[in-house]
């Protein structure tokens, strides 16, 4: 076993050509080799070759947003994400004790326990009303009326909608919109049973693989049967689709095969009847939709039936949100977002613009920069409306 436990062949896969550099958001804003995919891979190589797991090494890997833009760009198909996640496991076990306690509370007792998260969210709502939440955290105003009403599941579901942890607490209206569209398309929508409230994506990124595995088992068990599992958060969807690899069991592999991003499911099922809208929409590709799920075309197919779509000319570079990255690395995240906002404004020209984003993290972070950001489910729900009510 090597120090970081990396597969030597995977590590050797990088030839150092540098073609990934411009596709890396952190390299783009810092210009540092140590903030680039090639640099991070070389740093992992150095550690496997005997260099210490120093605070410098930890900082280099933690500054990665884990957007996986480098994987799509790499002609040698280097599996950067997998290597970084593995290296993070080694880092997580070597953290100072205070940090380990904090992480344990966050990852074991807040995110996976839905009532704790909801309780925390109410506390946040109060704090927001008192104006004591720092703006740079980019937390959107949370609607209390939405939080008060819970979602209801249909009898004899033909499809599950995965609701998740933070998203269910902060963006429940998106789930409502998704359910509305799905029902209009003739589906009966089921919700996950007990224990399936957190997908574990944040845990994987933080190097807490065994926590993530436990959560994955619970999520799989919470949505039994063979019907499709629809996910309206790109980050959670990517995690659910990766359970096959994370758990390696036949059940997990079968489960992952059932998972669809919301727009993937809509396109596969056949677009519903929609009115046309005069809105101009700039599509933002959440990294885990584009680089991990490779589902960026279905968003466009679903929306282009009603909206005029515009594209950014920035190779779909990350927006900087990255799970909790915008809180742990606010400065880099803000610079990355500035680039994104500029690209969106350039694409829109003088038009009033709405941004479509299929990931709640990106949506919140971009809204905090003053953009009008909507989930594709909300945009679809808006154009099927009159037809069905």
């Amino acid at each position: 076993m090597t120090i970081l436990g990396l597969n030597p062949d995977e590590l050797a896969g990088c030839v150092g050509c540098g073609l990934c550099l411009p596709h890396c958001p952190t390299y783009r804003v810092t210009g540092l080799e140590s903030a680039s995919p090639r640099g991070r891979i070389n740093a992992m190589r150095a550690v496997e070759g005997g260099a210490p797991i120093s605070s410098e090494f930890t900082a280099i890997l933690e500054a990665c947003i884990q957007c996986r833009g480098c994987e799509t760009a790499c002609p040698s198909s280097v599996q950067y994400g997998h290597m970084a996640e593995t290296a993070m496991v080694a880092i997580a076990t070597r953290r100072p004790i205070t940090r380990r306690v904090f992480d344990r509370i966050l990852y074991r007792h807040v995110l996976p326990k839905h009532y704790v998260l909801l309780l925390g969210t109410w506390a946040l709502v109060v704090a927001q009303r008192l104006h004591i939440v720092p703006k740079r955290f980019g937390v959107p105003p949370i609607s209390t009326s939405s939080l008060r009403r819970s979602l209801s599941s249909d009898a004899f579901p033909t499809v599950f909608l995965y609701t998740g942890c933070v998203m269910d607490a902060w963006q429940r209206d998106v789930h409502r919109a998704a359910m509305k569209v799905m029902r209009a398309m003739g589906a009966s929508v089921g919700l996950p049973g007990h224990g399936g409230s957190c997908c574990g994506a944040l845990h994987v990124h933080a190097g807490r693989r065994s926590d993530a595995q436990r959560l994955a088992v619970a999520v799989v068990a919470s949505m039994p049967g063979e019907i499709p599992v629809v996910v309206d958060s790109a980050g959670c969807g990517a995690a659910l689709k990766d359970y096959g690899r994370l758990l390696g069991t036949p059940e997990a592999i079968a489960f992952s095969a059932r998972v669809r991003d919301f727009t993937e499911w809509v396109v596969e099922t056949g677009l519903p009847k929609m009115l046309s809208s005069n809105k101009t929409v700039v599509v933002q590709d959440p990294c885990h939709l584009r680089h991990v799920q490779h589902a960026e075309t279905s968003v466009r197919t679903a929306l282009s039936a009603s909206y005029r779509l515009l594209e950014t000319d920035d190779d779909a570079l990350c927006c900087g949100a990255g799970g909790i990255y915008s809180i742990t690395h606010p400065e880099i995240a803000r610079q990355v977002r500035d680039r994104k906002v500029a690209a969106i404004r350039a694409a829109a020209g003088s038009d009033e613009v709405t941004v479509a984003s299929a990931n709640p993290g990106c949506a919140m972070f971009l809204s905090a920069a003053g953009l009008d950001v909507r989930h594709p489910a909300e945009l679809l729900a808006a154009v099927i409306e009159e037809d069905n009510e």
Partner: protein
């Protein structure tokens, strides 16, 4: 220079020990100037401490040009990445050296202009690095390489002085020092801002893909097209193994069973390009092409080019290490030299792939191997020596576009006489008398007596 702009953490230094080539060195300090004054300041500071320095753009160079030797200070240009001025009428842009090649083209696209030199690494490499290596690219066949597109540069010399080389006026008097500087790989100083020529987008473009069952037939088609009086905008060749690799990555429709393919682009006015397409098709079919396809949509065209431009990066799927050569031979000798390349690979029992700018005879034999295999590097070097010899025998030159750097330095005395090398050394001294700027690159150690030596122990991996 301020916090965060000078760095020397141990791991970070390791990350700057090489470019995309194989030579490795050791940096003492890394710094990130944000203006030409910063740059001059850094160079003067290095002078004071008697430390040599080396410029680095994106580190995609393949000849070890940006590899620090002698514990150099590495001066990274990535933060000098502003486009300073665009004159759409005069078709000139002033840019800082850290601007990425493709970013420049993107930023002037709405004006119907582009920056013509398009190395395959154009998405990642910097204009400064392109000037350093006098980079070429597929479309340089008709447009000319970097030197033809650089009008002027503000350069910081080895002692920290800032001078302007060249100018925007077409007929400057005196020596063309700009011409000397372009391609000097940072040994004559570092460009702090660069004036480049912008080229109008062609009205029409056609991209053709011709596939062949033999490498010879493809190579003969190359000569045939030129003999027909056509100068395509680009004329690229890929052999079977590399074609299969890139197809796997891009799915552009490259034939998986061809022995060689030619990617040909013609540009111009509508009538003209169609006539050229017909002529090329005829020439290729006469020489045994199985098929000549014309890309229909812009997306097909982009995919074909994406494939070609990903070729070097894609080889890790076969083996973890590569050694990429860069030689130029007269087009008439292409078939013969190419044969010799395959023979040399066979002799050394190495896998070779060929993907290159066929139109200007610029070959890129690419050896793909696993560097941890015992004795492999000796075979790779032996094959390299053989290829260089074959190239020089055929009347070719040592480098088409990647530069000499460390990689080819010791071959210089095969190509030039002692007098020639001495003259070059004196030219270099005129720019940098104290030898601070990127030492040990391009010219062999002790070039003045014309001796030949391998790179210093430990420089090679």
């Amino acid at each position: 220079m301020g916090r965060g702009r000078v760095r020397a953490e141990p791991l970070e230094l390791i990350l700057y020990q090489s470019d995309a080539g194989t030579a490795r060195g050791q940096a003492s300090v890394v710094c990130f100037p944000e203006s030409i004054d910063d740059l001059s300041f850094a160079i003067r500071a290095a002078n004071r401490h008697c430390v040599s320095f080396v410029a680095r753009g994106s580190g995609t160079g393949l000849a070890g040009g940006a590899t620090p030797v002698a514990n150099s200070l590495v001066i990274v240009m990535t933060r000098m990445n502003r486009i300073l001025e665009v004159d759409p009428v005069g078709r000139v842009a002033w840019v800082e050296p850290g601007v990425l090649n493709l970013d420049l083209t993107r930023s002037v696209r709405h004006l119907g202009l582009h920056y013509a030199p398009d190395p395959s690494s154009q998405q990642a490499c910097t204009i400064g690095g392109n000037v350093g290596t006098n980079a070429g690219g597929p479309h340089c066949l008709s447009a000319g390489v970097t030197s033809a597109h650089v009008l002027a540069a503000d350069v910081v010399l080895g002692n920290g002085d800032i001078v302007r080389l060249g100018g925007l006026e077409p007929d400057a008097i005196g020596y063309d020092l700009r011409g000397c500087f372009v391609g000097s790989e940072g040994t004559m100083g570092i460009a702090g801002s660069i004036a480049v020529r912008l080229t109008p987008d062609p009205p029409e473009t056609r991209t053709l893909l011709a596939d062949f069952t033999s490498v010879d037939a493809a190579a003969e088609t190359v000569s045939g097209i030129i003999a027909e009086g056509i100068v395509p905008a680009a004329l690229e060749m890929m052999d079977a193994p590399i074609t299969r690799l890139v197809e796997e990555f891009v799915g552009a429709g490259y034939p998986l069973d061809a022995e060689a393919v030619l990617l040909i682009e013609v540009t111009g006015l509508i009538g003209g390009v169609d006539a050229e397409v017909d002529a090329i098709r005829r020439v290729a079919l006469e020489r045994g092409a199985r098929q000549v396809k014309v890309a229909i949509t812009e997306q097909d065209r982009m995919l074909l080019w994406k494939g070609r431009k990903s070729a070097f990066g894609a080889i890790a799927k076969v083996a973890p290490d590569y050694y990429l050569h860069d030689i130029v031979v007269p087009r008439t000798r292409l078939v013969e030299v190419l044969k010799r390349v395959y023979e040399i690979a066979d002799e050394q029992n190495l896998l070779v792939m060929n993907v290159f700018h066929a139109g200007d005879g610029n070959l890129h034999p690419l050896f793909v191997f696993d560097g941890s295999e015992p004795g492999i590097w000796e075979r790779v070097y032996a094959a390299g020596d053989g290829i260089i010899q074959a190239c020089l025998d055929a009347g070719g030159v040592l480098s088409g576009e990647h530069g000499i750097g460390l990689e080819k330095r010791d071959y210089m005395s095969l190509a030039y006489s002692a007098e020639d090398l001495d003259a070059q050394a004196r030219l270099r001294d005129a720019f940098d008398p104290d030898g601070f700027a990127n030492p040990e690159k391009i010219l062999p150690t002790g070039s003045r007596c014309g001796e030949m030596k391998r790179a210093p122990e430990g420089t090679w991996v």
